[in-house]
Assembly symmetry: C2
Homo-oligomer: 228 residues x 2
DNA sequence: CTATGAAATATCCTATAGGATAAACAAGAC
DNA sequence: GTCTTGTTTATCCTATAGGATATTTCATAG
């Protein structure tokens, strides 16, 4: 057998993930796109038919989604999509973000590779380049995507998988909330992102954590308008 | 129908939790007691027979356990109990504990009810009262239980469910590790717990966070001996 | 017209059977 | 002696059927 040369194309697996994983991803996307809206009941059999699979992988996916907090289960009454966060839960989530993402910014400043820092700076620049004047819906979608990428990039750069998972877990809830209260305000966000990126680039942990905490505090204020 | 008087006995539900939840708890316990040891393959059908249930609830439980990180799944190759933490993963876990439990101690200091603070002080006293001279196995079990209770009490006292869940998630991994490297050293731990409890009791967030971080740093050093 | 109670329905939850795939093992070639 | 190849086995994964429960609907009394 010919030796594998470096850079050769990776072997394409016919199905690297199991069916349950695919269903999990699909349902997550359905919730994220609010095709399944908060409070909706989830009919397992109907959902299985729509996805053209059996009920078993749907059950597995829902079990995982429950531990993510995206769906709730009541005994003998079925699953429902988790309701929107209350004001109190929303505050709790941001308290967690302050702790976790503050640490992520700090660690990324001292541990990240040079190339990673450059990517973070580039991502922040992309966010800042977004124009607020574009038509609302599409602009909001683009902003949301870039924002999520930026924060995940920093979470990954911190070099702690547990931290990254914890942050991702919180962001899914934030995402759902955002769909219902789309207030973009991309300009100030872009500036804040650039400040964070600069501190990470410079390898200044204290400044990076402070910039991240300031950003999140400001973002919380912006979002709080949704609660009246 | 007679009106319910306040304080009347709550209606006993025949089965408040679903079968899948029971199985989840059971398997978690099996892993915690190392009846299912790290690296062991998990045969779904055999496990279902042993537990006298069908395979479906076992599948649901395993799906949840996978997102907890206690088991791994390989496509078409089944589940295995997650291997013991590597040294690097162990360090990552303690970095997370420092961040999360540090915040928990801080918040508990400023938010917890009076009665809760008293319980924390009492729990710390119980830990300190443990004698190291008892026979190893039983003493270790008692210590582990008290330690877990103490940390969970503080996590709960912080008043943020997300934080409490995150901490509990980390502790399950710590627990598995401990079973394989039982070095109790209850005395110094008891003192450290009492210092944390005193700061929370006094409502001093900075002191509480510092005491918690010192405790975790010392605990990490004690555990690191296991890695040679 | 509203509230209560019972029957009907829809749905969940569990159990079992069958097809498909990866891992394990043995035999043979170089 | 080592590597490859074919066969066997065990296990997973999916699909379907039946019992149990919550929800809904409808009739009836106040």
């Amino acid at each position: 057998m010919a030796p594998l040369t470096p850079g050769s194309a990776p072997i394409p697996r016919l199905r690297r993930s199991t069916l349950g994983d695919d269903v999990y991803e699909t349902i997550t996307a359905l919730i994220m796109q609010h095709t399944l809206a908060p409070g909706d009941r989830i009919n397992i059999d109907a959902l299985a038919r729509q996805l053209e699979v059996s009920a078993t992988p749907v059950r597995e996916a829902l079990a995982r989604l429950e531990s993510d907090g995206l769906v709730r289960k009541r005994a003998l009454a079925g699953y429902t999509v988790s309701p929107l966060l209350t004001r109190e839960e929303f505050m709790d989530m941001f308290d967690m973000r302050l702790v976790l993402e503050g640490a992520a910014a700090r660690w990324a400043s001292s541990r990240a590779e040079e190339a990673t820092r450059d990517r973070i700076v580039g991502e922040a620049a992309s966010t800042a380049a977004l124009r607020d004047d574009a038509d609302g819906w599409q602009a909001h979608a683009a902003f949301t995507k870039l924002d999520a990428q930026f924060h995940d990039l920093i979470a990954a750069a911190a070099g702690n998988p547990l931290l990254r998972d914890g942050i991702a877990r919180l962001h899914s809830h934030l995402h759902i909330h955002r769909l219902y209260f789309p207030f973009a305000q991309t300009e100030t966000t872009g500036e804040e992102h650039q400040r964070i990126a600069a501190a990470i680039r410079a390898g200044n942990p204290e400044a990076a954590e402070t910039a991240m905490r300031d950003h999140l505090t400001a973002a919380r204020e912006r979002h709080l308008a949704a609660f009246g």
